[in-house]
């Protein structure tokens, strides 16, 4: 057992209710953190005593390479302590928490409408989905029945956001392999998606669009025609990414058979989302626990068989088509009605516990809410999408080459602030 998120010299337990949140008590330090090369195992003896044994992370012969926290290919501030044998990876110890912002604790002090702002900033690439989960759990607790119009618009927005994320994913995959052209193509088309969303929501990257009981604003008058135009534009473009990058022989050489994980291990490690579906695990929340209007639309759950980086990439590409299908089914049939059901000025959730999960862009994202009937939550827990993916990297990469660490990380599609919360 070792510290995952906080500094080793941090004292106290932040999620306890008696933790002192005084900013002066929690000042930064420019001193380097203490590096601990051991982990502690705790166990109970037969007589009921708590004993601990400490294990060493490395042996004296190990060659340890530290990657991160500031590394261009880790998509943020992830730190991987990698033990190498020549070029071969022997073990990876992920160190997280370089962007741990304490969102779960902040949610306990904020009122419900205030907490909504935090999820958008947690994973900015699936901001809509994350907010959907949080809004969903609060609405479930309050027992709000949404109108069809709200649910239709939410579904369309979720899928637009998924396309946005997958375009950025394909772009970043290319960039991590050094293919700058495909990166620019992906970012170019992402701007078109952002334009469509911006016209309705007013935000470019972080939209703040959903709110408890509906939406922030009604859709733009041009929204329907813009979305149709976008769908028409995007379909041939996705083929272009494949032409430029995806079907390239270099990509196949770098991706095929790299970072393989079979279905059983994916289930064991909890690798959800496209990364898990690439190995055949059917885990789409939209199919198996449908929310919004996903039970009314016809779409295919993409599952592939190899479970390597190449299949993860293809899974993302094919999901763009599926998202376009969903949007095209819904966009002509948005029912009329209220876009926002008026709520009380002070929103309180009755006592109880709720869990609501959505299919985020790279896995299942869930929110657990423990309410004591107050205007702010007693405990709010987020199930991040990327934490399990990073946890599985060690298993995926053991015995592979160090250069494949970068490509596997690129193909997994994780966002660090989402992991660290």
């Amino acid at each position: 057992m070792r510290r995952l998120f906080l500094r080793n010299d941090f004292s106290g337990y932040p999620l306890r209710k008696d933790f002192n949140m005084d900013p002066e008590r929690n000042m930064y330090s420019t001193e380097d953190d203490i590096e601990i090369d051991t982990t502690t195992e705790w166990y109970l003896t037969d007589s009921g005593d708590l004993k601990s044994v400490s294990h060493s992370l490395f042996t004296d012969d190990d060659f340890v390479v530290n990657i991160g926290p500031q590394h261009p290919s880790t998509h943020g501030v992830l730190r991987l302590q990698t033990i190498l044998d020549g070029e071969t990876v022997k073990h990876i110890y992920p160190h997280l928490g370089y962007i741990h912002r304490g969102i779960e604790k902040l949610c306990e002090n904020f009122t419900y409408p205030q907490t909504l702002a935090l999820t958008d900033r947690m994973n900015y690439l699936s901001a809509m989905m994350h907010r959907h989960a949080l809004v969903g759990v609060i609405e479930e607790g309050m027992g709000i029945e949404l109108s069809d119009r709200i649910m239709y618009i939410r579904t369309i927005m979720d899928e637009l956001q998924r396309i946005d994320n997958h375009l950025l994913y394909t772009a970043c995959c290319a960039q991590d392999l050094g293919a700058l052209t495909a990166f620019l193509y992906g970012m170019r088309d992402r701007e078109h998606v952002l334009n469509v969303m911006e016209e309705t929501t007013g935000g470019r990257l972080i939209q703040n669009y959903y709110r408890i009981g509906g939406l922030q604003a009604d859709i733009d008058p041009n929204f329907v025609s813009n979305v149709k135009q976008l769908c028409k534009y995007l379909r041939p473009m996705v083929q272009e990414y494949l032409d430029v990058f995806g079907d390239n022989v270099i990509t196949h050489k770098r991706f095929e058979g790299i970072g393989t994980m079979n279905e059983a291990d994916c289930i064991n490690y909890g690798v959800t989302g496209p990364a898990g579906r690439a190995s055949g695990w059917k885990n789409d929340v939209r199919k198996y626990h449908p929310y919004a209007v996903y039970d009314k639309v016809d779409f295919e759950e993409i599952t592939l068989t190899h479970g390597d980086s190449m299949d993860r990439y293809y899974c993302h590409i094919q999901e763009i088509y599926q998202s376009l299908n969903i949007i095209e089914q819904l966009i002509d049939n948005i029912p009329t009605g209220e876009f926002y059901l008026k709520q009380k000025p002070i929103i309180k959730v009755p006592e109880g516990q709720w869990y609501f999960s959505v299919e985020g862009a790279s896995g299942e994202f869930g929110v657990y809410l423990d309410s004591r009937g107050d205007k702010s939550a007693y405990r709010m827990k987020f199930r991040p999408m990327g934490l399990t993916l990073v946890g599985a990297m060690d298993k995926m990469l053991r015995g592979q080459k160090i250069a494949d660490l970068v490509t596997t990380g690129a193909a997994l599609d994780f966002v660090i602030p989402d992991i660290d919360r």
């Binding site: 933790f19 930064y28 912002r101 602030p417």
Partner: protein, 290 residues
């Protein structure tokens, strides 16, 4: 430093210092078809420096994605000379701090800044880097990176739009253009700087920005403790009473001695006399009315 006086027959020494003469000479030469530009070498170097500022890719959260879009085709900051981003702090001119800096990340940011070669600049992008943003109540977030590294330009927003980021970067260009390069930015390290390695921290804070980090920290803490105080209870505004006939102030009666029975009797008689006179007055008044 002592200047050696140059001796040129056709150009007396006094005229070296005279800008008008130089300008006249340049105009004459230009008229004659000679290409000649008069200028300051500082300006030339700053022109070059400001149009090739290369930034370090340092993105921790959302602002980093906007920074990526600024680098891509639609916004394209290489139009303004931010040609490429460097992955190594040794090759970078400026650090774009895009995103929240947590307590765990703070030493790493400090180290990255220290590793950069002078002259170096810092841009704080987004609310989190400026002040902690929406997370400033948290137990693990730094409230502004200017507490550990000197910041040249702040770009507000959550996250700032790409146009705002470009605007902020161009502000930095303006700042670079007016800097004194020879003897200023490009000065020889003093003994103190060399020995203590202080050029990165306190000296820059003091010389470049004219502030001391301790003062900032104290001011911040003060502001914090005030912000944390419970808000004063709203006071209902007292309705202004209509200005009544202002009673003249009477001299206060100072009693030195204890009150005796004689005094009380005397006072009683006086009051009785007053009452009688009042009654007679009212009687007269009623009689008049009748």
């Amino acid at each position: 430093m002592e200047m050696r006086k140059p001796k040129i027959k056709a150009f007396p020494y006094e005229e070296w210092k005279d800008n008008d003469t130089l300008r006249d000479m340049a105009e004459k030469l230009n008229d004659g078809g000679t290409n000649l530009v008069l200028g300051n070498l500082d300006q030339l170097i700053n022109w070059g420096r400001s149009n090739s500022l290369w930034s370090l890719t340092f993105a921790t959260s959302c602002c980093g994605i906007e920074f990526m879009s600024v680098g891509c085709a639609r916004y394209d900051f290489s139009r303004f000379g931010f040609e490429v981003t460097r992955n190594s702090p040794r090759q970078a001119d400026l650090i774009m701090c895009a995103g929240t800096i947590t307590n765990k990340m703070a030493p790493a940011l400090k180290r990255l800044y220290d590793e950069m070669a002078e002259p170096k600049y810092v841009i704080a992008v987004g609310g989190c880097a400026i002040s902690g943003g929406p997370f400033k109540d948290s137990y693990h977030v730094m409230r502004g990176i200017d507490e550990i590294i000197p910041v040249d330009v702040f770009i507000p927003g959550c996250p700032p739009r790409p146009e705002a980021i470009i605007y902020g970067m161009m502000q930095l260009q303006r700042k670079v253009k007016i800097e004194k390069f020879f003897g200023g930015v490009n000065h020889k390290q003093t003994k103190e700087e060399r020995e203590l390695g202080k050029s990165n921290q306190t000296l820059i804070f003091k010389e470049k920005l004219g502030i001391s980090p301790e003062e900032i920290k104290e001011a911040r803490e003060k502001a914090w403790s005030e912000a944390k105080k419970p808000a004063p209870k709203p006071v209902r505004p007292v309705e202004a009473k209509p200005a009544a006939a202002i009673a003249e102030k009477k001299d206060t009666i100072v009693v030195n001695k204890p009150v005796t029975t004689e005094d009380v009797n005397k006072l009683g008689k006086e009051i009785d006399a007053l009452d009688k006179s009042a009654k007679t007055e009212t009687n007269e008044a009623t009689a008049n009315q009748e």
